[in-house]
C-alpha cells in the first residue's frame, strides 16, 4: 500500500505549507509597499538650464576621448638665399618638435612660385587639408642685416593673414631670430608663446673631467665652454642669461662661479654642489657640503641672508617653481633613500629613490617632474606641484634621467640611454620623443634666452 509523503509526515507538510503562505504574504506586502512608494514620488521635472552668458560658454562633455590635431602647413621656399633656407628650416623643425600639429609634408605642397612677396594660394592649401598656414621668409635688408618675417593664416578666416611679425636683425642672428618667429607664431595660433628661443646647459665628460655644455633648444650649436682640466658640474642659468656652475681644480672644494662674470660671493668654505635661482631671479638656493652630506640654504640672489631650509642628511639639486615653491632632493641613511621635497615636505613615493626634480609651467598648470629609480635605470615621473596625480612620462625605453622643461612648458628634455642614446625632447602634448643630440650628460637645465619674452 502506497502512502503519500504528506500522510506519512503531516507535521512537516504543514510547516512547508505555512512557509509558502508566509512567503506569498511577504510578496504581497512588498508589492503593496512598492505601489505605495511609487505614488509618493512624483516624476522629476527637468528644468531648462539658464542661458549661458560666459566667455567660454557651455562645455559639452561626453564619454568620448578624441582630440583634434590641427593640420598646419609651413610654406615651402624656392629662394636660393641662405638666410631664407635657414629660417624656413628652423621654423619648420620647431613646429614639428612641438608635437602639437600635423605638419603637412613638403611633397604635398601645391605647385607655386613661393617667392618672398608671392601671395599664398589659400584655396590650394585648403585642398590638401591645411587649417593653419605659416609663411616665413628672409632676405637681405642691408650689407649686414637680414629682414625676417612670419605670417599666419587661418583658412577659416579667409585670405587676410591673422598675424604678421617682421624683424630686422644682424646676419649672425638669423637662427635665434627664426626661433623667436616660431615662438611668436605659436603665441598667435595657441595663445601661449613658444619656448624655442631658449638654450640648455648640462655637465658631461669632455676628456677626463666633466665640462659644462650649452646647446640650442633644437640641438643646434652644442659646445663645451669650460676648460677640460677643470671639474665642472651642476650648471644653471641665472639673471640675464648668465651661466653659473660649480668648479673644482686639483681636488679643491667646489666653488660657485659665473661663466664670463665675477660670480657671487657666498659665506661658505665647503663645497657648493648645486645652485638655483628663483623665476624672478631674486632668490638663490645652494646645496652646501657638510662632513656627512649637504645642506640647503636659501637667501638673496647676491648671496646674502642665507638660511638653512633642509634638515636631512643630504639635500641637493634645488629648483624653484614659477610660483616660488622650492624643491630639492633630500634623504640620508640607507633606509630612508632619496625623495623629492617641496617646501620641506617629501612628495615623491617613499618606495622609489628620486632624483633631479624640475618644474614645468605647462598648459595644464605647474607640474613637478623628476626621475625615479626603476630596476637598473631611471624613468621620469610627473605630478602636480605638490606631488599629487602622479603619472609616468617614460617607460620601457632605457634609462631616462635629468629632466628639464622648455620655457613654455610644452616640451621635456632629458638624457636617455635607449637604443640610440642621447639628449631627447618629448612633447607633453603628443608624447613623441625626438633626439636632438647624441651626447649624454647630467644636471640638465633649460631657460629662455634674454629678451625672448618668456
Amino acid at each position: 500500500m502506497q502512502v503519500s509523503r504528506a500522510a506519512a509526515n503531516p507535521r512537516s507538510f504543514t510547516r512547508r505549507w505555512l512557509r509558502q503562505l508566509s512567503l506569498w504574504l511577504l510578496a504581497s506586502a512588498a508589492l503593496a509597499q512598492t505601489s505605495l512608494a511609487q505614488t509618493d514620488v512624483a516624476p522629476p521635472s527637468v528644468p531648462e538650464p539658464p542661458k549661458d552668458e560666459s566667455v567660454l560658454g557651455e562645455l559639452l562633455i561626453t564619454g568620448d576621448t578624441t582630440e583634434h590635431v590641427t593640420p598646419l602647413a609651413v610654406l615651402p621656399s624656392l629662394s636660393p638665399e641662405l638666410e631664407d633656407v635657414i629660417v624656413r628650416g628652423v621654423v619648420r623643425r620647431d613646429f614639428e618638435l612641438t608635437g602639437m600639429f600635423k605638419v603637412i609634408a613638403d611633397e604635398q605642397a601645391p605647385e607655386g612660385i613661393y617667392g618672398f612677396n608671392d601671395a599664398v594660394d589659400i584655396k590650394a592649401w585648403s585642398k590638401v587639408g591645411a587649417e593653419v598656414i605659416v609663411k616665413v621668409a628672409a632676405q637681405k635688408a642691408g650689407p649686414d642685416t637680414v629682414k625676417i618675417f612670419g605670417i599666419c593664416y587661418f583658412l577659416s578666416h579667409g585670405r587676410e593673414p591673422v598675424y604678421e611679425k617682421t624683424l630686422v636683425v644682424k646676419s649672425d642672428q638669423v637662427r635665434p631670430t627664426a626661433h623667436r618667429i616660431t615662438d611668436a607664431l605659436l603665441g598667435a595660433i595657441t595663445g601661449r608663446n613658444g619656448g624655442f628661443s631658449s638654450h640648455l646647459t648640462f655637465a658631461a665628460k669632455s676628456g677626463k673631467n666633466p665640462s659644462i655644455y650649452t646647446v640650442d633648444a633644437d640641438g643646434h650649436n652644442i659646445r663645451a665652454i669650460t676648460p677640460p682640466d677643470d671639474t665642472s658640474i651642476a650648471p644653471t642659468w641665472g639673471p640675464s642669461g648668465t651661466l653659473f656652475y660649480s668648479v673644482s681644480r686639483k681636488y679643491a672644494p667646489f666653488k660657485l662661479v659665473q661663466w664670463g662674470g665675477t660670480g657671487i660671493s657666498l659665506p661658505f668654505n665647503t663645497s657648493i654642489y648645486s645652485v638655483a635661482f628663483s623665476a624672478d631671479h631674486k632668490k638663490l638656493a645652494v646645496a652646501v657640503g657638510t662632513p656627512v652630506g649637504s645642506n640647503l640654504y636659501v637667501g638673496n640672489a647676491n648671496g646674502t641672508n642665507m638660511q638653512q631650509v633642509s634638515n636631512t642628511e643630504v639635500a641637493t639639486h634645488p629648483v624653484f617653481s614659477p610660483s616660488g615653491k622650492l624643491a630639492w632632493i633630500g634623504g640620508g641613511g640607507e633606509k630612508i633613500g632619496q625623495r623629492v621635497f617641496v617646501d620641506g615636505k617629501a612628495v615623491s613615493p617613499p618606495s622609489f629613490s628620486a632624483a633631479a626634480p624640475t618644474f614645468c609651467d605647462t598648459e595644464d598648470g605647474i607640474m613637478l617632474v623628476y626621475a625615479v629609480a626603476v630596476g637598473k635605470g631611471q624613468d621620469l615621473i610627473m605630478s602636480n606641484e605638490t606631488g599629487g596625480n602622479t603619472r609616468r612620462i617614460t617607460q620601457g625605453e632605457g634609462s631616462n634621467s635629468y629632466p628639464a622643461c622648455s620655457p613654455d612648458g610644452r616640451l621635456i628634455a632629458f638624457f636617455s640611454e635607449r637604443k640610440e642614446p642621447g639628449l631627447y625632447i618629448k612633447s607633453l602634448k603628443s608624447g613623441k620623443a625626438q633626439k636632438i643630440s647624441g651626447r649624454l650628460g647630467e644636471s640638465l637645465r633649460w631657460a629662455a634666452l634674454p629678451g625672448s619674452g618668456q
Binding site: 527637468v46 561626453t62 564619454g63 595660433i189 595663445g191
Partner: protein, 271 residues
C-alpha cells in the same frame, strides 16, 4: 481508504492565520489611504529675487563680416542657399542576386586571332583609339570675398562680437582643454542605463572657480535619472579643490568665475 492529510484543527488554524495576516494587510492599506496618501506639493508662491547681470563685452563668437572696402558698396543681401532635396532613387530588390551575371562579351573584346605571317605591323604613329574625348580644361572661378558693411570673419556668426580671430581661436582651444579636464574620470554608464535612455540624458553643472583656478563648489541641474546624476556628482566631487588648467597667458581674462560643463549621456557608442 486513504488517511486524511490534515486534521480539522490544522486546517482551521491555517485558515485563521491567513485571515489574520490578510486582514492586517487590508488594515494597513486602509490606514495609508486614510492618512491622505499622495498629495502633490503646491507650487511655491512667486518671490522676487535679485540676479547678477554680466555685461556681454567680449563674447568669443566671431563676428560675421569682412574687410570693408571704402570705395566699394557692400554686397547685396543674398538669401541663404536652399538645401537640395535628396533625389529619390530606385532601390534594388532584396531578391536580386548579390553577384551580377557576367555581361556578354562585346565584339571588340572577343579573342583576337593571331596575326598572319605576311601581315604588316601597324604604323606606330597611327592613332590607337577610334574616338578620343576632348580634354576639358579645369577653369576655377575666382571666388570673391564678400564685401560686408561690418568688419568680421567670413566664418563668423551674426550674433558674434569678437573681431579678433586669434582670441577666438585661443578661446576655442581653451574650451577643448577645459572640456578634457572635466571629462577626466567621467564615462557614460552604458552598463547601467539603456542606450535609448542614456543618449537623451544631460546634466548641466555650474562650477564656481576662484581666480587662481581652484574649483570652489558646484551645483547641478538634474537629468531626471538618479544613476546618471550620481555619476556626474562623483566626477564633480573629485574636481572640487582642484585647479582647472590655466587660461592661455596671452588671454588671461577668458576664465570666468563660473564654468558651465554639461555632461551628456550621448557618445560614440550611444548616439
Amino acid at each position: 481508504m486513504r488517511a486524511a492529510a490534515f486534521s480539522a484543527g490544522q486546517i482551521g488554524a491555517a485558515a485563521a492565520l491567513a485571515v489574520v495576516i490578510q486582514g492586517a494587510l487590508v488594515v494597513l492599506l486602509v490606514a495609508s489611504g486614510a492618512a491622505g496618501g499622495f498629495t502633490p506639493k503646491p507650487e511655491p508662491p512667486p518671490r522676487t529675487m535679485t540676479i547678477a547681470v554680466k555685461p556681454m563685452l567680449d563674447l568669443p563668437l566671431l563676428k560675421k563680416g569682412g574687410k570693408p572696402q571704402k570705395n566699394k558698396l557692400p554686397d547685396m543681401w543674398k538669401p541663404p542657399q536652399q538645401i537640395k532635396r535628396r533625389e529619390a532613387t530606385k532601390t534594388p530588390t532584396p531578391l536580386a542576386p548579390k553577384e551580377l551575371p557576367a555581361a556578354p562579351k562585346k565584339e571588340e573584346e572577343k579573342e583576337k586571332k593571331p596575326p598572319k605571317p605576311d601581315e604588316k605591323p601597324p604604323d606606330p604613329e597611327a592613332p590607337v583609339a577610334k574616338q578620343v574625348d576632348e580634354t576639358i580644361q579645369e577653369v576655377e572661378k575666382e571666388v570673391e570675398e564678400p564685401n560686408l558693411p561690418e568688419e568680421g570673419a567670413v566664418d563668423g556668426v551674426e550674433e558674434g562680437t569678437e573681431k579678433d580671430p586669434l582670441k577666438a581661436r585661443a578661446v576655442d582651444l581653451y574650451r577643448v582643454k577645459l572640456t578634457n579636464w572635466f571629462k577626466q574620470g567621467f564615462s557614460s554608464p552604458l552598463d547601467q542605463i539603456d542606450c535609448a535612455v542614456l543618449k537623451d540624458l544631460k546634466v548641466a553643472v555650474h562650477a564656481q572657480v576662484a581666480p587662481d583656478g581652484t574649483v570652489l563648489s558646484y551645483d547641478l541641474v538634474s537629468s531626471g535619472n538618479a544613476t546618471f546624476d550620481a555619476r556626474v556628482k562623483q566626477v564633480m566631487d573629485g574636481k572640487v579643490g582642484q585647479k582647472v588648467p590655466p587660461p592661455p597667458p596671452n588671454y588671461p581674462d577668458i576664465l570666468d568665475a563660473v564654468v558651465h560643463p554639461t555632461f551628456q549621456g550621448k557618445n560614440e557608442q550611444c548616439k
